[in-house]
Amino acid sequence: MHVGTDKAIIDSLRLELRRGTLVLSVLSRTDEPKYGYALVQSLLEKGVPIDPNTLYPLLRRLETQGLLISEWETSGPKPRKYYRRTELGTEIYKELRNEWNQMAGAMELLMKEES
């Protein structure tokens, strides 16, 4: 098989694998109000790189779903929009976290057996 195709397949699979974890990553960092780019950086620090052009639309979507709430902070040198988890967001975050832990454990088992 062509090397370029291989890479394309891996890239698209990796993207798919990561997509589901993004909501969880964002919810985990928003117990305190954070603005968009600070979120990008704090996620990157923890080894979760996310493109701003993915994150910003995602934040907006989570807000319409009621998981996040936003507020414009206009007192600083430039206006910033801060996002924070709502009560519903916290509840859902906990459920997703349990789900993730179970899944991670199961995957661990699966792949240990395989190797």
Binding site: G36, P52, N53, T54, Y56, P57, R61, K78, R80
Partner: protein
């Protein structure tokens, strides 16, 4: 950030927000100013920041989400099918009618001798057929698209399995707790799988498409060129020169009464045929549609042939006057009895319609419903 950078940033933001709904634009603009500012600080140039963000059109798509469809995945296949059939019918019908009409109206045996007039004649034919065909194709494209946009908007159900007669059990439960509020029909269960139609329950698609093509062509002739239905011949006259004469068989003086009835009848048949193509198998919907459209067609035919003055009252006289017993025209005119002619046509229409409705009803009851019974077995 200097003026040039600022200008660049504003241009980028504009390219993103102009693709978004109006009510989001201001807020997203502010958000992006914040983001690009932050990124530019880190990367030390606005240009770098914009390169990292990538194509504004792609960015806008992510903001818009994936749910904004004009015609979504639920309908797109049916849309393409219907569009293909509708466009083919229209193009064939309008093309042949405009061409035929152009030839009948403009043809003059004398022009064959002159190259200039041949070219003029061909150019005329070419431009009228082309523009008429294009216009109608665009019109049909628009109509089909609008119909499907509306279906998408209201999520009209084309799926199988919900066409059983309504019963009291279909009433949604009154929500007493949160769980009960969930619409059970929205929950997919394997029992709701529509059975694979048996061979005998399948509707031959070709027949329905032939029906559609015929209805469209006949309808277009009735609307645009009813006068070509009749006797057409080329004359050479010393006074008026060479030309094409027609004696229409229909009563064009009363056409404003006759045409609507014709069109209602054709439209009933057309709707039925389109439904058959979409559903593709015998079932209750198809049977009901067949019966209703058959009834409409019979009522229209009786109105046309027994009540309305459908035939050109001067047909016989004009035949005698203009054709001077060429090709036995006078004899034909003498024998031509409109009442008898109406009766024959009406009988043929009624028998043909009843046979078609009968076949549909028989096949539906025999094969089309069988599978719904076997579906019940799955449930049991």
């Amino acid at each position: 950030m200097d003026d040039k950078d600022f200008e660049l940033m504003e241009r980028y933001i504009y390219q993103v927000v102009r693709r978004l709904p109006k009510e989001q634009r201001d807020d997203v603009s502010m958000e992006l100013r914040e983001l690009i500012g932050d990124m530019a600080e880190e990367k030390e140039s606005v240009r770098e920041a914009l390169v990292a963000l990538g194509d504004p059109a792609e960015f806008a798509k992510k903001y818009a989400g994936e749910s904004r469809y004009l015609i979504g995945p639920l309908y797109i296949d049916t849309y393409w099918n219907v569009l293909k059939i509708a466009l083919t019918c229209t193009v064939i019908a309008i093309f042949s009618i405009t061409l035929g009409q152009g030839i009948v109206e403009r043809y003059d045996p004398g022009l064959v001798t002159d190259l200039g007039s041949i070219i003029g004649f061909v150019t005329y034919l070419f431009s009228t057929t082309l523009s008429n065909t294009m216009n109608s194709a665009i019109g049909i494209f628009g109509i089909v698209t609008i119909v499907f946009m509306i279906m998408e908007h209201y999520k009209v159900d084309l799926e199988e399995g919900k066409d059983k007669a309504w019963t009291v059990d279909d009433l949604p439960k009154k929500p007493s707790s949160e769980k009960d509020g969930v619409d059970e029909r929205a929950i997919w269960t394997p029992e709701r799988l529509a059975p694979v139609p048996g061979k005998k329950a399948m509707l031959p698609r070709g027949d329905s498409i032939a029906d559609i093509v015929f209805s469209v062509i006949f309808g277009a002739i009735l609307i645009f060129a009813p006068h070509i239905l009749g006797v057409v011949w080329v004359i050479e006259d010393n006074v008026i020169g060479k030309g094409v004469m027609t004696i229409p068989i229909f009563n064009l003086d009363k056409w404003n009464l006759i045409l609507p009835v014709f069109l209602i009848s054709l439209l009933a048949g057309l709707t039925d045929a389109i439904l058959r193509v979409i559903i593709g198998r015998y079932n209750l919907k198809v049977m009901v549609s067949s019966i209703v459209s058959g009834l409409i067609q019979i009522v229209c035919s009786v109105t046309l042939f027994k009540i309305l003055p459908i035939w050109n009252p001067h047909f016989g006289n004009e035949l005698r006057r203009f054709l001077d017993n060429e090709f036995g025209a006078t004899e034909f005119a003498n024998y031509f009895d409109p009442v008898w002619f109406s009766n024959v046509i009406l009988t043929i229409i009624i028998i043909a319609t009843m046979v078609e409705v009968g076949i549909t009803a028989y096949r539906t009851l025999r094969y089309g419903l069988n599978e719904e019974r076997s579906e019940d077995k799955v449930k049991a």
